[in-house]
């Protein structure tokens, strides 16, 4: 995964992480502030930013950069640029 794509940027900003945090380390387990309130706000942000809607299965698995990135790729969303 690309550590400087739009999703990485969004997650780093959202959870106030150092800009060079490797994508692999962006997981709910590793980030203390990734609680249920943050989850709701994060989904609102993701849906707004990428103009995507997640299905129920996906929502239950959106727990890391990798999972979110996979879900967005399956919807044909490009994470490059901007």
């Amino acid at each position: 995964m690309n550590d400087s794509d739009q999703l990485h940027q969004l997650l780093v900003d959202f959870f106030d992480l150092p800009a060079d945090t490797p994508s692999k380390q962006i997981t709910q387990q590793a980030i203390g502030s990734w609680d249920s309130l943050a989850m709701v706000q994060l989904i609102a942000d993701l849906q707004g930013t990428f103009r995507a809607e997640f299905d129920l299965d996906e929502i239950e698995r959106l727990r890391s950069y990798d999972e979110i990135s996979h879900a967005l790729s399956r919807k044909g969303v490009s994470l490059k640029g901007q």
């Binding site: 969004l10 900003d13 959202f14 249920s36 309130l37 989850m39 709701v40 706000q41 994060l42 989904i43 609102a44 942000d45 849906q47 707004g48 930013t49 809607e53 997640f54 929502i59």
Partner: protein, 606 residues
């Protein structure tokens, strides 16, 4: 937000445009770095809701901060509206907002045939209406004086059977209408209850404001864009509590009130009428006429020969606005900023009370540079954009329009001020000829709205400029021995409404009163009204055995006019620092009321 530095302004714009939480948080952090002075007054807001507002709090915080204010949000737990309003507020907020929606408040309506359509549905709505009434009366009892904003019930975005729902008076659409009607009635009945029209807002925003997934996940029904839009809507509704609406609008004529340039096209060549594009100018005139009728003073600023303009007003039959609808007309070749400054002076207003509309980039830019405090409403030269700017502006927002506001347009008020200046030689005879009658009334529920408006808006003849809200005035009313008076003026031209008020409260010394506030509306200046009110206040103080009056003059950028008032009525200055002069009157002596004003005293229920 206009006064924020560029870094903050840009961050706020980005946050609202992107609706991204991280950008909202960044903007909030940057605003935190500003001085309290730049951030505006404190605004404590209590939020009660049947749905989950917690995820939206940062957006609401940012929107309120941009009023500008230092907002302090207090979010009650979900669904505890009655419990919360039943408690007496220890620290009353500046506003309380109640947000409810159909899913929790009237769930039966979503499934009519499972819930006893039609009789039981009617009963469910009745019960909810009783609930609304109960909540309002508990609020009045326990948080009296705190403005209450009740949300209307929005139509649900996600429900089936849209067609049938509209067919029956017990159906969903009619029931929601009935509920909202009740909420509007409560606001009409009680000056302290306001409507946060979430139903109107949701209809305006369309379906994109909603997010069914988030609603099912967390009872938070709004998309990211919807969150920002609701936050901005809440801020716009609360804004009039701390930012008074602009009192005047200065407008250009050519290519604004009509299409074309009178000096070049002649009256016959101007575009104004019911067909496009003349109808755009007609709509602009309609908007201006409505503003004038609700109390905004209109001023013409036009570079033209006055006889040409006069001819348009006299002979163009489609003109909705009449010559006398404008409180001041400056039609000459001087700079518009100079003309506006002069018009403001004639009207007794500060230039910062004005908004400005002009199709010329040059004129707007010059105004911006010379008088940055004037709010420029339109951009560019397109009359359609000018019309849109009048539709969208929050510059004249207010929660109530009083009788006094609606009477303000009368040209005579302006003429009277000018006449006072013109008749200095024989002032007393002139004032007598106005046949003025003043009615002194105690402050109470019937005049509270006007009192709070005056405290919020009066700048020039205002000795202390304390912007008390309803709650603070109510608290003064409850102090034994306080003397809180208004003066209502009538003259030969008609009813002028309440034009002056005085708030005297018991001080620490026994038998002493402190004048907290004393102010006179600018349109009643120069007529001796302040002496009549002072005289009435002093005689009431004497009657209740008060021996000493303490007062102060607190200088602001605008109230120099009132600086010598206490000296004039015989108080001794006892202390002074850079911002205030303290005065005292001991023992108290009666003060003569002007011979040209007939004074009536009327008591009022507290």
């Amino acid at each position: 937000m206009r006064r924020f530095p560029d870094v903050q302004k840009n961050a706020v714009v980005q946050a609202f445009e992107s609706a991204s939480l991280s950008k909202i948080r960044r903007a909030l952090r940057l605003l935190d770095e500003l001085d309290p002075e730049q951030r505006g007054p404190r605004l404590d807001v209590e939020l009660l809701s049947t749905y989950n507002l917690e995820p939206i709090l940062p957006a609401i915080q940012l929107a309120l901060d941009c009023i500008p204010s230092r907002a302090n949000l207090r979010l009650a737990p979900l669904d505890v509206i009655e419990a919360q309003v039943s408690q007496e507020s220890k620290e009353p907020a500046h506003a309380r907002i109640i947000l409810w929606r159909i899913e929790e408040a009237l769930p039966d309506l979503l499934y009519p045939f499972t819930n006893g359509f039609p009789e039981q549905l009617v009963a469910s709505v009745d019960q909810f209406l009783e609930r609304v009434e109960r909540v309002v009366s508990l609020h009045q009892k326990n948080a009296h004086g705190v403005p209450l904003f009740l949300s209307t019930i929005a139509l649900p975005v996600n429900f089936s059977n849209v067609v049938f729902a509209a067919q029956h008076c017990a159906g969903l659409f009619a029931s929601v209408g009935r509920t909202n009607q009740k909420i509007h009635q409560l606001a009409t009945r009680d000056g302290g209850v306001h409507v946060l029209d979430v139903a109107g807002w949701a209809a305006f925003e369309g379906k994109s404001h909603a997010d069914a997934t988030l609603d099912l996940m967390a009872r938070q029904p709004l998309s990211a864009k919807g969150q920002v839009a609701l936050a901005l809507f809440i801020a716009r509704c609360l804004r009039p509590l701390i930012v008074p609406g602009r009192k005047g609008l200065a407008v250009d004529l050519d290519n604004t009130l009509w299409g074309g340039v009178v000096g070049e096209d002649g009256v016959a060549g101007l575009k104004l009428g019911h067909d496009f594009p003349g109808n755009v100018h007609m709509r602009i005139q309609r908007e201006l006429l409505e503003l004038r009728n609700r109390g905004v003073l209109l001023v013409v600023l036009s570079k033209n020969n006055e006889p040409d303009v006069r001819q348009v007003f006299d002979s163009l039959p489609e003109m909705l606005l009449k010559w006398e609808d404008f409180a001041v007309r400056k039609i000459n070749w001087n700079h518009k900023h100079e003309n506006l400054r002069e018009a403001a002076r004639e009207l007794g207003l500060g230039v910062d009370s004005f908004a400005f509309v002009d199709d010329s980039d040059y004129e707007r830019e010059q105004m911006r540079q010379y008088l940055p405090e004037v709010l420029i409403l339109n951009e560019g030269s397109d009359p359609l954009q000018t019309l849109r700017s009048l539709w969208e502006t929050d510059a004249f927002d207010s929660l109530a329009v009083s009788v006094e506001d609606r009477l303000r347009y009368r040209d005579y008020t302006v003429r009277a001020v000018r006449d006072v200046e013109a008749h200095q030689d024989d002032l007393e005879a002139f004032l007598k000829s106005l046949e003025m009658e003043a009615t002194i009334e105690e402050i109470g529920p019937s005049n509270m709205e006007r009192v709070v408006t005056m405290l919020g808006k009066t700048n020039q003849f205002n000795l202390t400029t304390r912007r008390h809200g309803r709650g603070q005035v109510q608290a003064m009313l409850e102090l034994p021995g306080s003397i809180l008076l208004t003066l209502r003026l009538r003259d030969k031209f008609g009813e002028q409404g309440i034009v002056a008020l005085s708030l005297a409260v018991p001080s620490n010394d026994s038998n002493a009163l402190q004048i907290d506030s004393f102010l006179v509306s600018c349109r009643a200046l120069g007529r001796g009204v302040e002496d009549a009110l002072w005289s009435a206040m002093v005689s009431r103080a004497l009657a209740q055995g008060v021996r000493k009056l303490d007062a102060e003059y607190r200088a602001t950028a605008k109230n120099a006019l009132a600086a010598k008032f206490y000296d004039k009525v015989g108080l001794q200055s006892v202390a002074r620092d850079s911002s205030a002069v303290q005065y005292r009157l001991e023992p108290i002596e009666a003060h003569p009321s002007p011979s040209w004003i007939v004074v009536h005293n009327r008591s009022n229920e507290r």
